[in-house]
Amino acid sequence: MTSAQTHSGRLPGWLIWTLALAGAVLLPLVLQQFGNAWVRIADMALLYVLLAIGLNIIVGYAGLLDLGYVAFFAVGAYLFAILASPHLTEAFPALAAAFPGGLHLSIWVALPLAAGVAALFGILLGAPTLKLRGDYLAIVTLGFGEIIRVFLNNLDHPINLTNGPRGIGQIDAIQMFGWKLSRRIEIGDFEIASVTLIYWLLLALVVLAIIVSHRLADSRIGRAWMAIREDEIAAKAMGINTRNMKLLAFAAGASFGGVSGVVFAGFQGFISPESFSLMESIMIVAMVVLGGLGHLPGVVLGAVLLAALPEVLRYVAGPLQALTGGRLDAAILRQMLIALAMIIVMLLRPRGLWPTPDRGDKVARG
């Protein structure tokens, strides 16, 4: 009855979703008229949305503050980079003999494999932190994120697995249904840019991630996660095996990160440990918190805003810089403006821009 009340006088939910989806599908076709740089910004925004949705499972649902989430992103990216580039065959001649055509892992294998391997890392990194909460957990996960990055940086000897700080290049472009997503498609006069194809792939993954995440939240597993977030002792008293449920949250969240990593590597064609710094982890946490912890639409909004804001501010920062006679550096100014925007948002909307609707806060009884 309550749901009928909230929806009365508004468009039905499915129509809103269909329109939103149609808009999202058509967006890059509009954006590419203004230049592919804009579509690329949209691509990055979607990538961050995917990461934020994944992190939201760990931080938003299960309440486990993870400051090392980028590690799972790195695991996915390196998995694809190593298994779909000439790096490994160049480093190990024996392997080159076994694979004369080079290593070219199919994206259809890479995506589930990355999800699985990242989930495994999620469990590995989650297991030692099970008794920790809040800030202590944050510090340990932060350390884990850094450990992964340091490993990637140094695993070029004794055996050259990651090529160290030089990174791995010439990564295969993503190929699906016989199409290389790195090549534009021309239909008569109209051409669809490569970045647009990547955009659609990312959009499909985001939609899938939203469905999976929503279904999880609205299930026995999701309720157990939220119970742990709200009160771990009471959750245990209800017979919830908090250890297993926490590990499951780490694994599920990490698998999203792994999938994002594969697309990132295939899209960029080159990755190096620099892309997986602590700053990235903090950005993803900021997206989840800014949008609305645990609320999917908010998380998506937060990720889109924080990913796109720096690019938009590029245009604001330019004139400001000119105004001060070039004394203010554009990059610094941009970071300052982002920080300022976040402080203002957190002051005005401490629960995020779009938190879970608060039915039941206007205490009324009877």
Binding site: A237, I240, G366
Partner: protein
């Protein structure tokens, strides 16, 4: 043939450093009883409660649940074994709705895994429907069905207590253990609580009540154990216990001391 007692404890002891918090305490709760455990502050009530709910490991003692040995090694196994509890200082899942709180209580009696949930398999949908129906029924049972969609933290104190009981009942317990349920309640709320506890007993459930409020315990319980300084002072029906000189002494002091 007599029914095995729901909970049987013999010689339960627990020592914290130099303090013998519990010294060889035993009790036997029969099916359908409301069993009261009372005593002055520091008598060992909470220690006893924590022993049977797996929070502490006993130094000695034999525990049986429905005639079977009972040794919980982890807190979450207690509910699985069949003991559900409420907390003295209410511990609800504050940001979840009243209905969701009770649905969490069904967790250990249901199966759906991560893949079932993601794929929405027919078996999982059926189970999910049953969980919701059961939770609604339980909210109705404790009299707060109208608050199903409200967040737990927005409920009044008395309603939160009811919600906690509904959540505990959702685990299908053989023994419902209430830790000072009347703490902080006014007279009206206490009376309503008494009605609810009696209703639960009359529906064939067994309850263990740890309570400070002697009057409430005496009115409500079928059998009572009185603890003092970690020892069992007296046990019996409320009327017997009330007449026991040792109990009077523990609560009111000796006549000679005045």
């Amino acid at each position: 043939m007599a029914d095995a007692p729901i909970l049987k404890v013999e010689g339960a002891s627990k020592r914290f450093g130099g303090l013998q918090a519990l010294d060889s305490v035993g009790l036997s709760v029969a099916r359908g009883q409301i069993y009261g455990l009372i005593g002055p502050n520091g008598a060992g009530k909470t220690t006893f409660f924590n022993l049977i709910t797996g929070l502490y490991v006993p130094d000695a003692g034999r525990f049986e649940l429905q005639g079977r040995p009972y040794e919980p090694r982890a807190v979450h196994e207690v509910a699985r074994a069949g003991i559900a509890r409420t907390f003295q200082n209410i511990r609800l899942f504050g940001d979840m709705t009243a209905l969701e709180n009770v649905m969490v209580g069904r967790h250990l009696r249901t199966r759906a895994g991560i893949f079932g949930a993601v794929l929405r398999l027919p078996s999982c949908r059926r189970e999910e429907r049953e969980i919701a129906e059961r939770a609604h029924a339980l909210l109705d049972y404790v009299g707060i069905a109208r608050l199903a969609a409200w967040r737990a933290r927005t409920l009044s104190y008395g309603d939160q207590r009811r919600l906690e009981i509904a959540r505990a009942l959702a685990t299908d317990p053989v023994l419902l253990a209430l830790d000072e349920p009347a703490a902080g309640m006014n007279a009206t709320e206490k009376q309503q609580l008494r009605g609810l506890i009696e209703k639960i007993r009359d529906d064939g459930r067994t309850l263990l009540l740890i309570e400070h409020d002697v009057k409430l315990v005496m009115r409500l319980c079928d059998r009572v154990t009185v603890l003092d300084y970690g020892r069992e002072l007296a046990a019996g029906s409320p009327a017997e216990v009330q007449r026991d000189p040792r109990v009077i002494e523990a609560y009111l002091g000796t006549a000679g001391a005045h």
